[in-house]
C-alpha cells in the first residue's frame, strides 16, 4: 500500500490545468501562416496530398498532413493547434490569415447542440481504415495529461450509448457497411465528427480503389478536426468549442 502511495507522490501533478489555453511546444506544426511573397513561386507538386494551391496561395487543412514539405519564406507552420471547423470550406487557409481570424469564423455552434450536449457528450469512435495514429491520439485524450472526461466528454463502448460518432481513417470498402450500421444504431439527436486528414479528404490514400466514401455524402457532418494524426489538444478544444461556444 505504502509503495503505491509513494508512486503517486513521485508523479506529482501532471495534468494540464487549462486545456483551452494550454501552451503548445514551439516545434509543433499546426496552422500554416501564408504570406504574400513575390520572391519565389510556390511549387504545388511538393504537396503529397494536393492541399497546397499556389494561385491564389492556399492550404486545405482537410487534406494537409502537416508534413512541412512546403515550408518556405511564404509558408510557415505555426504551433497554433485549434484547427477545427464546422464548415468544410473554412478549413482552406488563405493568404495573410491570422490564427485569430481563423478561430473566429471556424466554429459556428448551434443553440440546440449547446442545450443538449454542453455538459455531457458521449462519443463512439469508429476506425474506418485509420492507421492507428489518430486512434492512439484519441486514446491519449483520456489519459491523465489531457483528461477529457473532466468536461463530460467520453468515449463509450456502444453506439447505443452514444450521442455521436467520431470517424477516423479514409473509410475502406470493407468498413463501409459497419460504419453505416453503427451510425444507424446511434440514437437521435446525434452528431458526426471527422477526425484527421484521412477521414476528411482521404489524406495520403486519396485515389485508392479500395475506399468507399459514400457515407460522407449521405449523412451530414457536424465537425471537422484536421491533423495527421489529430493532436489531443486539437481534438478536445474542437469538441469543447463545438458544444459550448456561443
Amino acid at each position: 500500500m505504502l509503495d503505491t502511495i509513494k508512486l503517486k507522490y513521485f508523479q506529482g501533478k501532471q495534468y494540464i490545468p487549462d486545456i483551452p489555453n494550454a501552451k503548445m511546444r514551439e516545434q509543433f506544426r499546426g496552422l500554416p501562416i501564408l504570406k504574400n511573397c513575390s520572391g519565389c513561386s510556390v511549387d504545388e507538386s511538393v504537396c503529397p496530398t494536393g492541399a497546397l494551391k499556389s494561385n491564389p496561395l492556399s492550404i486545405d487543412l482537410g487534406k494537409c498532413t502537416l508534413c512541412g514539405a512546403c515550408e518556405c519564406e511564404a509558408i510557415k507552420f505555426s504551433n497554433y493547434y485549434k484547427l477545427s471547423s464546422t464548415d468544410r470550406n473554412h478549413l482552406i487557409v488563405t493568404e495573410n490569415m491570422t490564427p485569430e481570424e481563423f478561430e473566429k469564423a471556424a466554429i459556428k455552434s448551434r443553440e440546440e447542440i449547446r442545450k443538449v450536449f454542453s455538459h455531457s457528450l458521449k462519443l463512439r469512435q469508429v476506425s474506418a481504415a485509420g492507421c492507428n495514429g489518430c486512434e492512439m491520439e484519441l486514446n491519449a485524450c483520456s489519459n491523465c495529461n489531457f483528461d477529457m472526461g473532466r468536461f463530460g466528454i467520453d468515449f463509450v463502448a456502444s453506439p447505443r450509448h452514444a450521442d455521436g460518432l467520431v470517424i477516423t481513417g479514409p473509410i475502406s470498402e470493407n468498413m463501409a457497411y459497419a460504419l453505416e450500421d453503427c451510425y444507424k444504431h446511434t440514437p437521435e439527436p446525434k452528431i458526426v465528427i471527422l477526425a484527421g486528414a484521412c477521414a476528411i479528404s482521404g489524406g495520403v490514400f486519396q485515389g485508392s480503389s479500395k475506399l468507399n466514401r459514400e457515407f460522407l455524402e449521405k449523412y451530414p457532418i457536424d465537425l471537422y478536426i484536421p491533423g495527421c494524426p489529430v493532436h489531443p489538444l486539437t481534438f478536445i478544444n474542437g469538441v469543447l468549442d463545438f458544444i459550448t461556444k456561443k
Partner: protein, 487 residues
C-alpha cells in the same frame, strides 16, 4: 540449390534471380530450415511469378528464388501441410493471383470476401460462440473475433481481418515522390520503422549514400518509438488487469517520450522526420542532452512502477500462465519480433542482420522464454531499458559526426531491373519491404510484410484454454497491428 544469396538492404539484379520449379522450391525449403520473409507474386504479362525470400538469422543472409506460373497452371501442392508458417503467405498469394495451394488446411480469405468467410464450427450441447467486432469497445482498429467456448473457456479463436485494407501496395507504385509520407501512414504506431524500411530500400536501389549522422538520428528515433510504444502497452496491460495506478503512470510516462519526439520532428510520432537521403531534422547537443535527461527520468519511473507492480500478487496471478505460446508453436508459426522473443525464439534483425550501428554498440539482446503475458510484459520492460542504453550510446557516437550533413539529395533514378529486401526491426518485429524495378527503373512491385502478418495466429493460439475475459489481456500483451496486416 539454385537460390541467389543476398543481404539486407543490398540490391541485386532482378534478372539474376533463378526461376526454378515449385517442387524444387519446396524441396529446398525443407532442406534449408530457415524462415520465410517473403512469398509473393508479381504479374508478368499473362504469367505470374512467385518470389520466395528465406532468411538465415544465424549468419544474416537472405536467399531469393522464383518460379513462373503460366496461365494454365492454376494450382500447386501447398507448403502449409508441411510448414505451417507459410499458411498466411499462401492464403495471400491465392487471394491476389488465384493460384490455388492444394490441400491447404485453412484456405480462408485474408483481406477480402468477409461475408463469405468460412468459420470453423464446433458442435455440442454446451458449446457457444462469442462474436466480437469489427467495431470494438475501445478506441482501436477494426477486426472480427469469433470465440468457440464452453462456458468461460475458449476452445478456439478465429480472427478475421481485412477491414483496414486500403490498397497501399498499389499506391506505392503511383508516385515515388510522396512515398515517404505514404510509408508513414501504413501503420501509424510504427511510423519510423516503416519509413526507415522504405527509405533504405530506395537508397539501396538508387545507390544513394546517407551520412552516418543521419543514420544515427534515424536509429535514435526508432529506439524512441520502441520505448514509447512499449511503455504505452505496459500501461494498457495494467489497465486490463485493473491495476489503474500502472495504467495512469505508464500513460503519462509515454507522453514524455513522444513529446520529446515532437521537439525533434514537429510530430508526436516522428512524422516528417525521415526522408530518402537522410533526415529532415537535426539533433544538436542541446537536444541530445535533453533526450538523455528525459530518458533517465523515464527509466526511473518505469523501474519504480514495474517493481511495485510485480510485487503485487493480484497482478502476477493475472499475468503468469495466461496466454501461453510455447517455443515450438511460435517457431512452427513463423512468429517474429518481440512476441517471438518472449516465447524463446531468439531473432532480432537489428543484430542478426548486422546493422553496423547496432552491432557496434556492444549491447546484449534481452529475451524471455516462458511465453505467457507475464513474459511479454517483462520483455517490454527489459527492451525499454535496453533501448535507453542504445539511445545513450548512439547519442554519444553522434558527437563524432557533428560536421556531417543530415541529408543528401538522393538520385531520383532507381536502378533498372533490380530487387531489394529491406528489413527494419520495429518495436513489434521485423518490417519487411521488398521492391522490384523494371527496365526503366520504375517500381513494378512493392511488397510489405508487417510482423503482425505472422503473429496474428500466435494470438489465436495464446487464447486457447483461457477464459474469455483474459482475451483483452492477451491481445494487449501482443498489441498486433490490424492495418499492418490488411495494408
Amino acid at each position: 540449390m539454385n537460390w541467389i544469396i543476398t543481404e539486407n538492404n543490398k540490391k541485386i539484379n532482378a534478372l539474376d534471380i533463378p526461376s526454378i520449379s515449385i517442387d524444387e522450391i519446396k524441396a529446398d525449403v525443407e532442406k534449408m530450415k530457415m524462415r520465410a520473409v517473403g512469398f509473393f507474386g508479381k504479374k508478368e504479362f499473362d504469367n505470374t511469378r512467385l518470389y520466395v525470400v528465406m532468411a538465415d538469422d544465424k549468419v544474416g543472409k537472405l536467399y531469393v528464388t522464383s518460379t513462373l506460373f503460366t496461365p494454365d497452371m492454376k494450382s500447386y501442392e501447398s507448403f502449409t501441410q508441411k510448414f505451417p508458417a507459410f499458411h498466411i503467405f499462401e492464403r495471400e498469394f491465392y487471394e491476389e493471383f488465384g493460384i490455388e495451394p492444394l490441400n491447404h488446411p485453412w484456405l480462408k480469405p485474408v483481406r477480402q470476401n468477409q461475408d463469405k468467410y468460412p468459420f470453423f464450427e464446433m458442435e455440442g450441447e454446451d458449446i457457444h460462440q462469442v462474436a466480437v467486432g469489427p467495431i470494438h469497445a475501445g478506441v482501436i482498429e477494426p477486426g472480427h473475433f469469433r470465440f468457440m467456448c464452453m462456458g468461460e473457456k475458449v476452445y478456439d479463436l478465429e480472427i478475421m481481418l481485412g477491414y483496414q485494407h486500403r490498397g497501399v501496395e498499389e499506391l506505392f507504385l503511383k508516385n515515388n515522390r510522396y512515398n515517404n509520407r505514404l510509408a508513414e501512414s501504413v501503420c501509424g504506431d510504427s511510423v519510423i520503422a516503416y519509413n526507415l524500411a522504405y527509405s533504405q530500400a530506395m537508397e539501396a536501389l538508387s545507390d544513394s549514400a546517407v551520412s552516418s549522422k543521419a543514420q544515427i538520428i534515424r536509429r535514435v528515433a526508432l529506439e524512441m518509438e520502441r520505448i514509447a510504444i512499449h511503455i504505452g502497452d505496459m500501461g494498457a496491460v495494467s489497465g486490463d488487469i485493473a491495476y489503474l495506478m500502472g495504467a495512469s503512470i505508464f500513460g503519462i510516462t509515454r507522453t514524455l517520450v513522444i513529446n520529446t519526439l515532437l521537439e525533434i520532428s514537429g510530430s508526436r510520432f516522428g512524422r516528417g522526420l525521415i526522408n530518402v537521403g537522410g533526415v529532415n531534422f537535426d539533433i544538436d547537443e542541446k537536444m541530445s542532452d535533453k533526450i538523455i535527461e528525459m530518458l533517465e527520468g523515464v527509466a526511473k519511473t518505469v523501474d519504480r512502477t514495474t517493481k511495485v507492480m510485480l510485487k503485487k500478487p493480484t497482478c502476477i496471478s493475472r499475468m503468469e500462465r495466461t496466454g501461453v505460446v510455447s517455443q515450438e508453436t511460435a517457431k512452427s508459426l513463423g512468429a517474429v519480433g518481440m512476441a517471438a522473443r518472449s516465447s524463446g525464439v531468439d531473432i532480432d534483425t537489428r543484430f542478426d542482420f548486422n546493422d553496423k550501428w547496432y552491432t557496434s554498440l556492444d549491447v546484449v539482446k534481452p529475451f524471455k522464454a516462458t511465453g505467457d503475458v507475464h513474459s511479454r510484459f517483462k520483455l517490454r520492460y527489459k527492451e525499454i531499458k535496453q533501448s535507453i542504453q542504445i539511445v545513450k550510446k548512439l547519442l554519444a557516437k553522434l558527437k563524432e559526426y557533428k560536421a556531417e550533413p543530415i541529408k543528401v539529395t538522393p538520385n531520383t533514378n532507381l536502378s533498372a531491373n533490380s530487387f531489394v529486401v529491406s528489413m527494419t526491426e520495429g518495436w513489434r518485429g521485423e518490417v519487411v519491404h521488398i521492391a522490384i524495378t523494371g527496365a526503366n527503373g520504375e517500381l513494378l512491385r512493392y511488397k510489405m510484410k508487417d510482423p503482425s502478418f505472422n503473429n496474428w495466429y500466435m494470438l489465436a493460439m495464446a487464447v486457447r484454454n483461457n477464459g474469455v475475459s483474459d482475451f483483452p489481456l492477451c491481445n494487449k500483451s501482443f498489441n498486433l497491428s490490424y492495418c499492418g496486416n490488411d495494408l
